[in-house]
Symmetry: D2
Subunit: 422 residues, 4 copies
Amino acid sequence: MTEDLRIEKVGQCIFSSPLDSAVFITDSEGVLIDATLSGCERCQGEPASLEMAGPREKIFFKPETSRAALVTCGGLCPGLNDVIRAVVMVLWYRYGVKEILGLRYGYEGLIASFNHEPLVLNPELVEDIHRDGGTILGTSRGPQDPTLMADFLSERKIDMLFTIGGDGTQRGALAITREIEKRGLAISVIGIPKTIDNDISFTERTFGFETAVAMSQIPITGAHMEAKGVRNGIGIVKLMGRESGFIAAYATLASSDVNLVLIPEIHFSLEKVFAYLEERIVRKRHAVIVVAEGAGQEHVPAEGTDASGNKKLGDIGLFLKAAITEYFSRRKIPAAVRYIDPSYTIRSAPATPEDSVFCFQLAENAVHAAMSGRTGMVVGIWNGHFVHIPIRLSVKDRKKIDTSGLLWQSVLDNTGQPRNLA
Amino acid sequence: MTEDLRIEKVGQCIFSSPLDSAVFITDSEGVLIDATLSGCERCQGEPASLEMAGPREKIFFKPETSRAALVTCGGLCPGLNDVIRAVVMVLWYRYGVKEILGLRYGYEGLIASFNHEPLVLNPELVEDIHRDGGTILGTSRGPQDPTLMADFLSERKIDMLFTIGGDGTQRGALAITREIEKRGLAISVIGIPKTIDNDISFTERTFGFETAVAMSQIPITGAHMEAKGVRNGIGIVKLMGRESGFIAAYATLASSDVNLVLIPEIHFSLEKVFAYLEERIVRKRHAVIVVAEGAGQEHVPAEGTDASGNKKLGDIGLFLKAAITEYFSRRKIPAAVRYIDPSYTIRSAPATPEDSVFCFQLAENAVHAAMSGRTGMVVGIWNGHFVHIPIRLSVKDRKKIDTSGLLWQSVLDNTGQPRNLA
Amino acid sequence: MTEDLRIEKVGQCIFSSPLDSAVFITDSEGVLIDATLSGCERCQGEPASLEMAGPREKIFFKPETSRAALVTCGGLCPGLNDVIRAVVMVLWYRYGVKEILGLRYGYEGLIASFNHEPLVLNPELVEDIHRDGGTILGTSRGPQDPTLMADFLSERKIDMLFTIGGDGTQRGALAITREIEKRGLAISVIGIPKTIDNDISFTERTFGFETAVAMSQIPITGAHMEAKGVRNGIGIVKLMGRESGFIAAYATLASSDVNLVLIPEIHFSLEKVFAYLEERIVRKRHAVIVVAEGAGQEHVPAEGTDASGNKKLGDIGLFLKAAITEYFSRRKIPAAVRYIDPSYTIRSAPATPEDSVFCFQLAENAVHAAMSGRTGMVVGIWNGHFVHIPIRLSVKDRKKIDTSGLLWQSVLDNTGQPRNLA
Amino acid sequence: MTEDLRIEKVGQCIFSSPLDSAVFITDSEGVLIDATLSGCERCQGEPASLEMAGPREKIFFKPETSRAALVTCGGLCPGLNDVIRAVVMVLWYRYGVKEILGLRYGYEGLIASFNHEPLVLNPELVEDIHRDGGTILGTSRGPQDPTLMADFLSERKIDMLFTIGGDGTQRGALAITREIEKRGLAISVIGIPKTIDNDISFTERTFGFETAVAMSQIPITGAHMEAKGVRNGIGIVKLMGRESGFIAAYATLASSDVNLVLIPEIHFSLEKVFAYLEERIVRKRHAVIVVAEGAGQEHVPAEGTDASGNKKLGDIGLFLKAAITEYFSRRKIPAAVRYIDPSYTIRSAPATPEDSVFCFQLAENAVHAAMSGRTGMVVGIWNGHFVHIPIRLSVKDRKKIDTSGLLWQSVLDNTGQPRNLA
């Protein structure tokens, strides 16, 4: 295994796992990064692989004397409560860890001066929380001082910290890991990547993504009906996707009502977009546009950064609404533009059943990883297996749509839009 | 019956109804406007009543030689396709009218110069349209010249016109009725009132309203989760309701997650609203606000009128979002305000099952009214019975929430907000 | 007011209502039973009316020293938790009653020997229960000894009992009322009628009914797809409706996919049904049948009575499935019959938004009635107003579909089935 | 590549693909069957792989002169119409194939004597069919004579046949392939595996499965509410799964309300099941059971075979209902058992959004395979890539749950049931 893919551990596993598991995963098992035949041939017998997730026969923490904590950071995402619930259930029932703290309001909850008293979590309290969207722990944006957070963990005698959040959150988790290491403490920090945009490297899918695709169907159908309901109607739906257009692409494939998708991965000129739209409107009298929030940022003024340090995106949805209205008015073609921004409704929804299952499995594997003393890593799924990914690797690049690949080709076929809009 | 409540007819009914109906309604039957005991006592034996709707034994139009037309006007509303479908089905199968035209894009479809060729409607074409929101006929805003519209009806030999739209549309229908009368033509004009706001006088319920209440639950729950997901989160949902707050009120009662409802019928000062919000935020750390689009217009600049002649409302939702953010910032209380405007998604939805039933029944009664030669009227439901309402009466006043009545009291109890916010 | 319609009270109202209500209803206000003009003429100035529900200015029970109890009986029905929640909320917040007991498992909960300790109810406990179907109190079938139940009420110092259940339950409530009266106790017994079938006299609508109609759409659509998916497919859906076919009728109108509806109110011969089906199958190659559980009982053997004393119905759904299969096989016409019985899934569902609003309003009015010392009555809605109905009247007859009326005519038009199948 | 995994072709590809694709897949590309590190080590540089699906640069059929046909066989499954729609869209718009026949009622549609005239398919006709469950083509069970089916294909000049169905259907497709081969015809036969049970070898997921898991949540929640609504309530839900318990397992993980899952892969004694149930009922007063239809067949009498030659399963759901009722009655513990069989409602539902996307992608790859002259194969997804699987391999074994693996362990943890019930 290359250095880059190695998973760190806080110490030697000496306790026997209490799991009545019929199967334990050995530490040497891995999942090939490239499962194609050509990839296999190129690797010459030393294929790159990710450590396989799952329960270990020997564990590092003694369950009855260990204390775990969870924190949720950043924006809402479907499935947060599913993950919280499953982490608690698996710690409690499978391993026998009975001290579990829910830290409040993101990383603020690890800063003593905020005085956010943690929730004491147990199965009864979390039993039904997965029926609701949101997070029972609350969340906040932005980093906090890793030394203060390490102080908190050490004062509260926390042995395992589960950080549920996006790449900013996982960078914070890595900073905590380093600080803990410096102090010679044995605290596991395990991340569960939360990105509704599905743009984390080395994980095929992130929780909440599928729900987001499902929930986007209602506004897209609405936009379609609005567009068809008037002469030359144009419905625009803005969906999540800061740097990757996965939600926009899958929502389009699921709907089959969309005529133009704009994503961050492609550049487009307004002239080309307008020309395509005009041709379509003249021919069909209506059109539906899906635009990812991060698309076409060269056309809109930037707006600084938010508390998490993310660049604040210009509002491409409102921009398109105004620009398209203006274009058709200039061309003296009557047109009615309707704009829908369903983001809050989508991200605050409870998880779909399949997403719930995925949350359960992610959380299980995060707990196995923590119990075995792993740290500085996130859990993911790759080539159909749950895996461990070093944080430094998972935050290095974002996963993006390959616009010369098959997924984007499917989208082009589905919408009928030209490949080249630049 | 007082003059005001009398229903006009285009002529004497001489044909026998082809209906195999076990029951026909006699023309003298009515529904009391006031069904309370005290109302009955006050009326001294001459109670005001609305003509009861339903099939008549004698009809005016000979089905096999009659031609009907439908038009949908104004904004989308759940149930439009249900109404279109049911009018076609009842004309075709019950009465045997086989010439039915669907006029395109609102009243534009009655102006020859627009060249919108009507759709020829039949059962096969409309069979499944009720599964979709929107309107297969398309719609447009704004009035058209009644003389040109009467020309169209007479040139196309249309005997019955069904006008599906709001009060502007029904005023237009009345103008057409007058023009037809002047020309001595025997064309029935029957309105089916479409107001998602449920604000038509003398009808307890309008189609689409119930669906709107149901569909508003998703964004309200989303706002609730967003508000609870952060410290001092405030979720704002703007719902339909230009002059009446029925959707906001019922959506609040259905949800039980709302802490403040603002409707057009109440005046409120920003100071009182802010003070209540601050108190709630300090106590509970989150709040959910539902605001009807027509509420608090004294606080926002007006924006002219739309093509239908409706006053364009200032955007109270965006205004509140900014004003509340500014208030808490001034008060140095960290707060996160999330604003959701789900209007297009709500109004473009297909009807709920109960709403579908209601659409079917409204349409049936509209057809009965037309076949019996009635004109210048709309159908509605009052005290549990379907009734005929003269257009001039139905557009006179809007139905509003009585803020000293029981419904508003229920809302106050449900939210806990103060009665007096002025 | 005729004797029959008079509402009993346990005593004189001497306390001032704590409600900050802008409106109180006077005891003399009523709602006309017949709101038609002809009914009004017939009554000669002395119209029969039901007492109007709503808050009274003077109340009988002193809130701070009163104790209330709720019980849910019989089968599940959507909205039970909504009603429980709203009764608790209104008692607690509007009147200040802070002692509220939830009796467990139906009338068993009023029999000391069962040892079902009541739940102590408060706003926090009931806050979110309306999101779930079922009843948090549990339920059971069958009557219990009224003297033992009166003992329980008096020993537990209960002042108000809310009985949520069907007509058997309300008969039980009347027996308790009589026993209490005999003992000279001042305990209010207020019923909230629970019949998913919507078959209670003098109330236009019962809670859960609308949800049942909505939930029945999924299996009906499924049956439609199953029927169309094979050659000569016949889908049968059995819906609730022991003696009245309201759910079957409204579900049919909402769906518009049904070709034959069989309800308890009509008699049908199997020959006529088979002949109609064969004609349809030959012509269209598929058919959908909705049958109310109480329909065609003359064709199936009876099966005794259940614990509530209700006649156990023969299973007309399974019977039809077998009989139709056998008929087509005899006629040598290949046919595939698919049978769906969705009853448990429907009745255990949470209430739709409109049904939730209705539950809230029913519960509010039940509390007003109890606080004002009324007893031996149920709340209902009539001609658009909430009303008080003496139990003895509400259980006298069941509301049924008038098969020579307009509703049934609409159903016949919708399905195309012959009026006479006998 | 081993012989077993080789994909057959009807001839040499000589035409250039009309696809404006930025990427073509080369014929030598494959997807490793085992993507784990240990698997890779064992294979010693010659890993077994499946041919990768996707568009080829050279194709066999000339689009403008080719004719395609589709057939759907066996029971309904969510997504059938999505697959039909996508095959038509991709053939028509991407390749320019304009002659597409929809064969009616399964393999009957390929037998001339049935006289089922094919539907002529085009984009307009299929545009909205994916909103409905079922199949617009109709289906039937059972095999037909391959020589007669080959006659039909050859007489109708069909070049490509898409067979959408389960393993019986694909065996039929293989028989057709052999017959065509014998006659020296160049007709591609491409299967799209349809098994709601998700039990096809070498494909991680089959269409309809995810929808089935999602749709099963409503009856499971209903069973839960029914069980909790009475004292000692036991809710039983029977789900699909003839030989594999994937739906039951995933539905359980998604719900987290289930206390016992019984699947075909495990043996259980009734004594052990009863003992566990009694213990749970005494402790918790309610229980929810999910049983796959193929579970516990040793306890129920077999019932012959159906038209497809599948063994007709004994009804384990009804059996358990009776047996459990009897057991508790014998133990003199009052208990109420409610049984729900939602199968038809689940399998006739329209696909969820994610399932729709999957159907689109499967269909695309099936079309690519056919156009390149492949035959005797089905499309699937393996280790995250779409692949070609020889029919003989895909029908050899069924995919089953490994009861000593991680998925089953998750289920045991989720329900709390004992691992060993035998």
